[in-house]
Amino acid sequence: MIDPISASAAAIAAAVRSGATSAVAVTRAHLDHIEAREPALNCFTTVLAERALAVARTVDAVVAAGRDPGPLAGVPFAVKDLFDIAGVTTLAGSRIRRDAPPAAQDATIVARLSAAGAVLLGAQVMDEFAYGFTTENAHYGATRNPRDPAHVAGGSSGGSAASVAAGMVPLALGTDTNGSIRVPAAFCGVFGLKPTYGRLSRSGVFPFVDSLDHAGAFARSVPDLALAYDVMQGPDPSDPVQVARPVEPASEALASGIDGLHIATLGGWFREGAEAATLEAVDRVAAALGARDSVELPEAARARAAAFCITAAEGAALHLPTLRSRPDEYDPATRDRLLAGALLPGSVVVQAQRLRRWFREQAARLFAQYDVLLAPATPGTAPLIGQATMMLGDREVPVRPNLGLYTQPLSFIGLPIVCVPVARPGALPLGVQIVAAPWAEATALRVAAWLERRGVVAAPVAG
């Protein structure tokens, strides 16, 4: 008999498929757990209990009929509240969208998880319109970190990461434009996957920055992350950015180990300003992997700056109609940055896109020598809720724009990354980015799985 709250998605699916437990029992257990923990953590904007139980009953009926219920049979999951859910208004963390019509259908990758037997439990708190790294939302409150509720969960997919850490769901979907999967994964101590730009469909996902937006996932184990990723892959012509590549399964590669892989640590920008504990975490992962080389990705600061500017300009363009008509309904912290982006000269964006191409070539040179690069996910552990500034080396800087220093240059060029939680008993989690060449998600997941099997990284349910 499994404990459904601490069990992996793979274990839940196996138990449901074998009849050892039912999807309804697993769903009820998770709904009860959400009810118990939600008041203290604030992870959900909507809990879909009736829909979830109806879907779970369908899964159980399929099992009873002797048919295949799918690889995620009865596995509960939840999604950042910018993924469309049929019949539910997609809020995107905003007040403005409260009067938007309900979505007509599920987002593509939500539908793919459901088709694999997974059971959607609800939509989750995020930074307003995904423009933030802390999930301190002026309209829906702050999501609290299950590892220590005095601290932020990270953002912008904070509700998703926190719910996985708290055992509310074993799987959750998020998006990552500048670090919005990797930062909350690091702070909440769970695994996060940001695939290659263009790998997973974003159809039915409320956009933030079209040229930088990625969809991805959170889990408490690497096999679960790979299982969900494999199910979500596949062409979707309704997302013009998605590349029509065949499904390239990652799950079967996880047992391959790291023999033959060349791994290095990113130096320079990716070590500047980080806390000692952060660097120690990266070094511990590198030592476990036998990665002795340190390499530099040149002009990472300018790459981060270019991502910053593209974000501001594209975000502004997307929101200009409502910035004109309903400016008072935005969180001022979101509105002021979007408005500033509206005034950014166009030459900056053109140059930023040129820099993006050049920077991609610099990364390609490193990947000609190395299969995997290691970098910290954040400068330090999760700040306190409401904390305005933090130390970056010997400089006091604002928290919100600086949590993505090490994530932004890498998502800028769309690299696939697994953020792994370094085991630190008794201390707040820290994350390390396992960075692979474009389309080599399986390699990054393979390295993450190897680290997990050796106990270097781990994501237990937070008590």
Partner: protein, 59 residues
């Protein structure tokens, strides 16, 4: 500096159809220094001339 930026915002925002309150103008002015510092890094990057911008329009 901040007053100059707020004056810039007050003068330019209406040109792109944005009617901002003084409070909103001040908020934008406060957000601009960080954004423009990043823009400065971008504009001074030595990108070789053969590197073209994206996206490229294809008729």
């Amino acid at each position: 500096m901040t007053e100059d930026l707020q004056g810039f915002v007050a003068a330019t925002a209406p040109l792109v159809g944005l009617e901002l309150s003084p409070e909103q103008q001040a908020g934008v002015a406060a957000a601009l220094p960080l954004l423009l510092a990043q823009a400065g890094l971008v504009l001074t990057a030595a990108v070789p001339p053969e590197i073209k911008g994206a996206p490229v329009f294809v008729p």
